[in-house]
């Protein structure tokens, strides 16, 4: 990963790092990515039934959001105004 790559990944991750940390993380992550080359040793095409060996018929449920009524929702919010979460301006 070059520095340019790191910058674009940081943008996608909504993270920011100092230049020193970027350099340090690049080296560490490159080492991890190098290790991933071992995946190319696996030539076998898996039986599709093992993509999810346990849950073959997952059934979703209706989501009924109720939690906004809980007093802790307001207490946990960094800023809560007029029944909503307040954030800084989108455009400064």
């Amino acid at each position: 990963m070059s520095n340019i790559d790191v910058d674009s990944i940081l943008e996608l991750s909504c993270l920011s790092l100092t230049d020193e940390r970027k350099q340090e993380f690049s080296v560490q992550i490159e080492k991890v990515l190098d290790y991933m080359d071992v995946l190319n040793n696996v030539k076998k095409v898996p039986d599709p039934s093992f993509e999810w060996p346990i849950h073959k018929d997952v059934v979703g449920r209706e989501d009924v959001p109720e939690s906004f009524e809980h007093p802790l929702v307001k207490e946990n919010a960094p800023e809560y105004k007029s029944g909503g979460f307040s954030v800084p301006k989108i455009l400064s």
């Binding site: 990944i9 093992f50 979460f85």
Partner: protein, 486 residues
């Protein structure tokens, strides 16, 4: 016999009161926790209130459930209504959960009393419990060693004799590896056995809640309360809960076939660990089991697969921590984008950031097929390989970790070395299998060694029976016993 049945008998016969026991445990934590840093919060008011209610019920002639009055430590990533849950992260400091996770709710319904929060690696990412905003956990066997992670606080709390039971979560070995390092029993159930509702998500396709105990019998007892179908978790399995603790004691393991992967008994495993596992295998043989070695060629590939899939899921799951709805926020930011970026920068620790970056990278356009797509295929190959192995074997046995607990700070600057300490546990999570770690000896410096036993899908009962037979034959001596608190 584990300690739970002894406590239950003492409470039922009124030789011991629930409140008396709870207060004793809370005092014990206050006195001794600073030595290990296993607990980061104590639910004193809640615990005493629950204990008093149970004493009152007993006085009124009620038949108490099996867990009545038993104190349990809860890892800092499981929600309990009104209590702090921070995942040992600065970004969630001060956050109180508005609901209770199904797993904790179920053990409370069975009478168990959550007494406090146990320390962990931030968002369960780590193998040493050094990545915690509350500081590292010390190994009760030797305070200069790590406890293992990510459920290091849960393992150390049991090993230090502070509580008889704790709950942890296991995504790539986070129950079994610290259990091994701290010389206690740790069980990761089959994926889907225990509801993940209310467990703060790390990697949703791998996470599973399970117990720590000093004795197999105690782990079996609490597992009965933990398991069960939950409509709030779409990956929860709808199958009846087996009485894991009944008929736990089997006379022999005659007819049981144990497979041992050559790759996990190779030169890469510390000599003391290899020797101890060889002794454990002889013990299994003396109990009637047959031992057979086989080649498991996917050890390195499974590790690589895990470190693609888990960070990819992290990148998605942790995007919700943005300072908008809960947790810490950088209030000095001038725009929404700056607020989110700086909140996340200040809120997350290094290991979490590393995994978010890695996960975002492997999911990004141009790299997805080469990494994530390939990893999903290899994951299926791993599951298929296990399915074939379990046609020949009842259990697969190996060291839980390639080494015993290492010195604090030893691997902090080398993430790849840290990741390698999960090499024996990770393949199990990829396939969703149940597995246990239990103590099988000490190394030359006196640090515990853990033996890992893996079973077929939903074969927890057989696993517990085998581990129990081993435990009785081995008679491993814990360094600290909870019975000292009684």
């Amino acid at each position: 016999m584990g300690v739970l049945r002894k406590i239950h008998d003492a409470i039922r016969s009124k030789a011991l009161g629930c409140e008396e026991l709870t207060r004793s445990v809370i005092d014990q934590i206050a006195q001794k926790n600073s030595e290990v840093n296993a607990f980061i919060d104590v639910f004193e008011a809640r615990a005493i209130q629950m204990a008093k209610a149970q004493d009152e019920a007993l006085a009124n002639g009620a038949e108490l459930p099996v867990g009545a009055g038993i104190p349990v430590g809860i890892k800092d990533n499981m929600c309990i209504d009104g209590e702090l849950v921070t995942c040992a992260s600065n970004i969630l400091k001060g956050y109180r959960s508005p609901y209770t996770s199904t797993a904790v709710g179920q053990i409370m319904a069975a009478g168990f009393i959550p007494v406090g929060r146990t320390n962990m690696d931030e968002f369960a990412m780590g193998s040493s419990n050094e990545h915690s905003v509350y500081g590292p956990v010390s190994n009760p066997w030797n305070k200069s060693l790590v406890s293992g992670g990510s459920s290091g606080g849960s393992a150390a709390a049991v090993a230090a004799g502070l509580v008889p039971l704790t709950l942890g979560s296991d995504t790539g070995g986070s129950i079994r590896q610290p259990a091994s390092f701290c010389g206690v029993v740790g069980l990761k159930p089959t994926y889907g056995r225990v509801s993940r509702y209310g467990l703060v998500a790390f990697a949703s396709s791998l996470d599973q809640i399970g117990p720590f105990a000093q004795y197999v019998d105690d782990a079996a007892l609490i597992l009965e309360s933990l398991c069960g179908f939950d409509p709030y978790d779409s990956t929860s399995e709808n199958r009846s809960v087996e009485p894991f603790s009944a008929n736990l004691a089997v006379d022999s393991l005659k007819g049981k076939r144990i497979g041992v992967p050559n790759q996990l008994m190779s030169q890469t495993i510390a000599p003391d660990v290899r020797e101890s596992i060889s002794e454990a295998l002889k013990r299994f043989e003396s109990l009637g089991a047959s031992i057979d070695y086989f080649d498991f060629d996917l050890v390195d590939e499974a590790l690589a697969t895990y470190y693609i899939i888990a960070p990819a899921e992290v990148s998605s799951n942790l995007s919700r921590f943005d300072g908008v709805r809960y947790g810490n926020r950088n209030t000095a930011a001038n725009s929404l984008k700056e607020m989110i970026q700086t909140t996340r920068q200040q809120g997350f620790g290094d290991e979490v950031k590393r995994r978010i970056i890695l996960g975002t990278y492997v999911l990004s356009s141009g790299y997805y097929d080469a990494y994530y797509g390939k990893a999903q295929k290899v994951r299926a190959v791993v599951s298929e390989t296990y399915a074939n192995l379990f046609k020949s074997y009842d259990f697969i046995c190996s060291p839980t970790a390639p080494t015993t607990a290492f010195e604090k700070g030893a691997n902090l600057n080398d993430p790849m070395q840290m990741y390698l300490s999960d090499i024996a546990t990770i393949p199990v999570n990829l396939a969703g299998l149940p597995a246990m770690s239990f103590p099988c000896g000490l190394d030359s410096s006196g640090a515990p060694i853990g033996c890992q036993l893996v079973g077929g899908w939903f074969k927890e009962r057989e696993l517990l029976q085998a581990a129990h037979a081993f435990e009785r034959a081995m008679e491993f001596q814990p360094k600290y016993s909870f019975e000292g608190v009684l």
